[in-house]
């Protein structure tokens, strides 16, 4: 890749925070670091990954609203976790995490367990019990 071929396809993935570095050949045929704001295929693949996550979050929200899942299920998806990862972060056994995804089980949780989930998901207990608007 030549320096002038380094792609500059900005899809605001980097939020203007910085440019990334690519290695490319300069006029003298020597490699150097060249800044880039992004490349179309990269942007497409990232958007694809995010659309999967966004779908899962929307699905979780729908289930919470329909009373099929607890709010924990929604916040777990927002944090891109599955029960196994949430279990590790909260220090709650994975099987219990799965149970707590059910509204009745979640409603019966003690303050200490709620606190653990809230901490793991970077929320307050009050936030954990709600769906954000």
């Amino acid at each position: 890749m030549k320096k002038e071929e380094v792609p500059q396809d900005d899809a605001n993935m980097l939020e203007g925070k910085f440019k990334v570095v690519k290695y490319a050949l300069n006029e003298d045929g020597e490699y150097e670091k060249v800044p880039s704001v992004g490349w179309e295929p990269e942007n497409v693949a990232l958007q694809q990954a995010w659309s999967v996550i966004n779908e899962q979050v929307a699905e979780a929200r729908r289930k919470v609203e329909a009373g099929q899942c607890s709010t924990l299920a929604y916040h777990m998806e927002v944090n891109m976790m599955d029960p196994a990862l949430l279990s590790k972060h909260a220090g709650v056994p994975a099987r219990s995490v799965k149970r707590h995804l059910e509204p009745a089980e979640f409603a019966a949780l003690d303050e200490r367990t709620l606190q653990r989930y809230a901490e793991a998901l970077q929320l307050t207990v009050a936030e954990l019990k709600q769906l954000p608007a």
Binding site: E15, K17, P41, L46, L85
Partner: protein, 338 residues
């Protein structure tokens, strides 16, 4: 309780990749000048693997480099750098250990999860627990951070840093930190580079299992042809999208580290006085360009904007050709680098 502010005079240089960037920046601090591509080459970082049986978020792992942390290990061994490494169960202890080393005036490398680094753009923050950064100071509750993939240094609050240092998953980061205790400023980089080069040439051309080394590329080409039938088109395209990300997203310098490796070969040509390596660098560049064409076609497919006649089979054809070229390339490199 609270400690005095400290700022280690650490020169930050932006890099393509976190691990090689941290090596290059830490070495410069300790008086040894090694560019990022040279760190990559000496640490024999280039590799290829496609592991259908190992999945992350339900998608098979494909990698263009050796395992995280191993570039640093091989680099240190080949150059004779002594490193102090530590990991912790207790968060306060981990932060105390960091503070102690900073108070000695030394920058500290550490393992973090990008999901918990608030200064990074949102779109890149996945649960990836192998991101290397350097902390080089402390101002009240803020720590000064040199994140190699960023243009400038930044800061992170103590609470956020603790979270990033103690992320769970694959792997648990366990507060892991490291810093050089002995850097030989008169190190024999020639020998180190020759060693690193031999290792890559050997591992790329000679790893026995089909999914590793340059054979791994043709192995994936073969599997790719069956994706649509086995997975259905939605999942197939998710797998393909993941290939693009592993190849091009922040950290590879373009074409899955192939351009960075070509840059190393160029530097090695002068360092080792082997002019033929300059030609190898150009060959690697041409291979890298084909990786980019692969990603380009893959991107069109993912977006649903493929040209007529383009499908997973034509994509697999590209991969097959790249794989065959890399096999020839590294065999030849292994033969001439004994």
């Amino acid at each position: 309780m609270s400690r005095k502010d400290v700022m280690v005079p650490f020169e930050h240089q932006q890099s393509a990749h976190c691990e090689t960037g941290v090596i290059s920046n830490l070495m410069r601090f300790h008086g040894l000048r090694v560019s990022e591509p040279m760190a990559f080459g000496i640490g024999s970082g280039l590799f290829y693997s496609h592991m259908p049986f190992l999945k992350m978020n339900g998608i098979p792992v494909t990698s263009y480099r050796i395992l995280p942390g191993h570039i640093f290990k091989r680099f240190s061994r080949n150059v004779g750098v002594k490193m102090e490494r530590a990991s912790f169960r207790d968060q306060d202890q981990a932060m105390r250990a960091l503070d102690d080393v900073l108070d000695q005036g030394l920058p500290v490398g550490m393992l973090t999860s990008v999901f918990y680094l608030p200064y990074l753009p949102k779109a890149f923050r996945f649960h990836f627990n192998a991101h290397n950064i350097v902390v080089f100071g402390r101002r009240g509750d803020e720590y000064l951070v040199s994140d190699p993939v960023m243009e400038a240094t930044t800061t992170i609050h103590r609470t956020a840093l603790v979270r990033a240092r103690f992320a769970k998953g694959t792997p648990n980061t366990n507060g892991r930190m490291y810093y050089p205790t002995k850097v030989p400023i008169d190190a024999d980089l020639k020998q180190a580079a020759a060693k690193g080069l031999r290792r890559v040439a050997r591992d790329m051309s000679n790893t026995p299992l089909p999914m590793f080394g340059s054979k791994g590329i043709t192995y994936l080409a073969h599997r790719l042809r069956n994706y649509e039938r086995r997975l259905g088109s939605r999942r197939a395209l998710l797998y393909v999208g993941n290939l693009i990300r592993m190849q091009e997203e922040i950290g590879t310098g373009g074409a899955g580290f192939r351009f960075m490796y070509a840059a190393f070969l160029q530097e090695a040509a002068s360092l080792l006085n082997r002019p033929e390596l300059r030609e190898k660098a150009m060959e690697m560049t041409a291979i890298g360009d084909q990786w980019r064409e692969f990603a380009f076609e893959a991107g069109r497919l993912v977006k649903g904007r493929a040209e007529a006649g383009s499908d997973l089979n034509t994509l697999a054809d590209r991969l097959q050709r790249i794989g065959e070229q890399e096999q020839r390339f590294f065999k030849e490199l292994a033969r001439t680098s004994r």
